[in-house]
Symmetry: C2
Subunit: 374 residues, 2 copies
């Protein structure tokens, strides 16, 4: 059976694992994705779905360029997935309005983003009196001014992950859910697949795309510094939906097409504990009310948390590992949804055509990994 | 069929309606309870379950005496229900610790409750340094002092309502769920049952126990001033359960045997809208954190709201109506769970033995109801 000895085994069936499988399958490679749960069960299904590289960047670096490139892939990727699978993945170029409240840093609001303008990206300063258009007059009187990033966008991660799963399967990839990976098969110093609860899956090439679990609790043949970073989200339902993402330094509000809004998020180092806490819910809602007071009467729908794969420098781990045959699509921290299409393309290029793109900034080598076995 | 012409039809299958049916059935009356939903679907299932007449009372009046009497019925009622139905209804005499925070009213903490002591009830003042025993040292440093009411208790309203439902059925009452009452059958100036979606139910005696819906939107033959008053509750899960109910002037924390705690509640006049709002969730949690800061790391489980049956003076409406054959067990506002056993007993006494107890303070006559038909 194809699944027993595919060309590539992808460990982790989140958005990135499935996107890579779909990309490899369309290039004629046989691929098996293996995961203990269904696609979307973990961080891919918990994300808010912001495709917003600009509003949080303060310097231009290879990561920024990667993120903007990936955002640029989204319109065609989303359209293609919808045509292929019939799933509406909720891609919308909503723009993002980053607000400064009384007490925030002084100076011209768009000044920290001047370098983005120089790079040809849209950054629009907004005075208080200009804001009623974008936010429907609902912003707090404490909002002093804002910066509008009109090209920032959103996607709905749960249907997106299902669509990418369907796409991978439709193209011939095998997605084995309900099957935990127990370890990596190392033969003569090279990785030749994985051992799972359901037996071995042998493959020339193995890709670790296991999100917050990518370090495999020490069962990799070297140290991968990826750890879970909890993020909590509150979902509210509004009578009148927000037209754009609205954020402050404390919180972001992500509109969904169905009229709900997601309030995010926390950054917590609490291990693999996926709980929603009282304090986070109260803090997110309070911060949202400081920005849009009318949200007080919004209906509280639910709250959840997810575990992002954090790295020491916040950058992903992409490409080759110290062990031949083993590759990474890991450590995407807060940008897994945004970086999914570019990650799938980069890894598929690397695995089908060999090294071409400079992945040095994202290589595991930056952490000087120590091999435990040769 | 018994259900078609019972002695008594009870409109409303909440805790009070079912409790009355069980009480009438055991006295040999045939009873049909009719409700559009299952017992516990509305306020009975949404309540926190505090059996706490003392901590909110500031004067001795007939209502206070009624509430303390009903609290006194609970231990035997709960034990009997558990023996009869096998359902653990969660009755516990936990006590209630009412805390004063910095900035609250001055004076000796137990002073406003001196009249309760005079009436023979337990009221214990607690200085700050004495509080570590009851609350496990978890109270905020802003708690100045407190009053402990050791006889206040809790019950778990959802299993309680199911147990009372089971008890009523076991004793021979008929509980017709999924059947909305359309109107009251008035013949020669007397009420002779109700019309429902599933046809008429004729009965010598009709009892309106329909909670927030008891006014029947004007379809009663006179005006009953009962309106919905929304209350919201947040449920958190703690590592170490609270031993006692803890409250401030802003919030109460009700411990559940499974280690969760309920934070309540709001008092909102918003009609029949049962939503949970962002603001209420944030406010309840913030008030709870002011009292017990360690709750910040508690797991947020869920939140819900219920519609209490409010009256202009906050007192229930019990006993006869201006129309012969029609009686009330209605308008229990924030005390429906607490007053359920005494209400069932009073109404059952009235319907089987005739007037004995003075119900003047709780009579609908205090609202001078105007008959619309004779």
């Amino acid at each position: 059976m194809n699944a027993a000895r595919p060309d590539v085994v992808v460990v982790g069936g989140g958005l990135i694992g499935c996107a890579l499988a779909a990309e490899l399958a369309v290039r004629g490679r046989s691929v098996t994705v293996v995961d203990r749960a269904e696609p979307g069960s973990e961080a891919s299904g918990a994300a808010a779905g912001m495709l917003t590289p600009q509003s949080e960047a303060r310097v231009r670096d290879p990561f920024f360029d990667l993120a903007v490139e990936s955002r640029g892939l989204y319109p065609a990727w989303a359209r293609g997935l919808e045509e292929e699978t019939g799933v509406d993945v909720g891609y919308r170029r909503t723009g993002l309005l980053h607000c400064r409240l009384e007490g925030d840093a002084a100076g011209a609001p768009a000044e920290p983003f001047a370098w983005q303008r120089a790079a040809g990206l849209a950054v629009l300063a907004r005075r208080r009196e200009e804001l009623s258009v974008e936010a429907g007059g609902r912003l707090s009187h404490d909002v002093r001014d804002a910066v509008l990033f009109p090209d920032e966008a959103v996607v709905n991660p749960r249907p997106l992950t299902r669509a990418v799963w369907l796409s991978a399967v439709r193209r011939g990839a095998v997605v084995r859910t309900g099957t935990a990976v127990l370890g990596f098969r190392i033969e003569k110093g090279a990785c030749r697949g994985v051992d799972t609860e359901a037996g071995p899956i042998e493959a020339e090439t193995t890709v670790d795309a296991a999100g917050a679990w990518a370090a495999f609790n020490g069962r990799l043949p070297f140290t991968l510094p990826v750890q879970p970073v909890r993020g909590q989200i509150v979902e509210l339902a509004l009578r009148e939906p927000l037209a754009t993402i609205v954020s402050s330094d404390e919180v972001y509000l992500v509109p969904r097409p169905d009229g709900t809004v997601l309030l995010g998020s926390t950054v917590e180092f609490v291990g693999f504990e996926k709980a929603v806490t009282a304090e986070a819910v109260a803090r997110l809602v309070a911060a949202a009310l400081r920005l849009v007071p009318g949200l007080g009467s919004a209906r509280f729908v639910t709250a959840w948390s997810g575990l992002r794969p954090g790295t020491p420098d916040g950058l992903p781990v992409l490409g080759a590992s110290p062990v031949p045959g083993l590759f990474f699509a890991a450590g995407h921290f807060r940008n897994g949804i945004l970086l999914a299409p570019i990650t799938a393309r980069i890894l598929a290029d690397l695995l089908t055509d060999g090294p071409a793109r400079d992945l040095t900034p994202f290589s595991i080598e930056r952490f000087a990994p120590v091999l435990r076995i040769a």
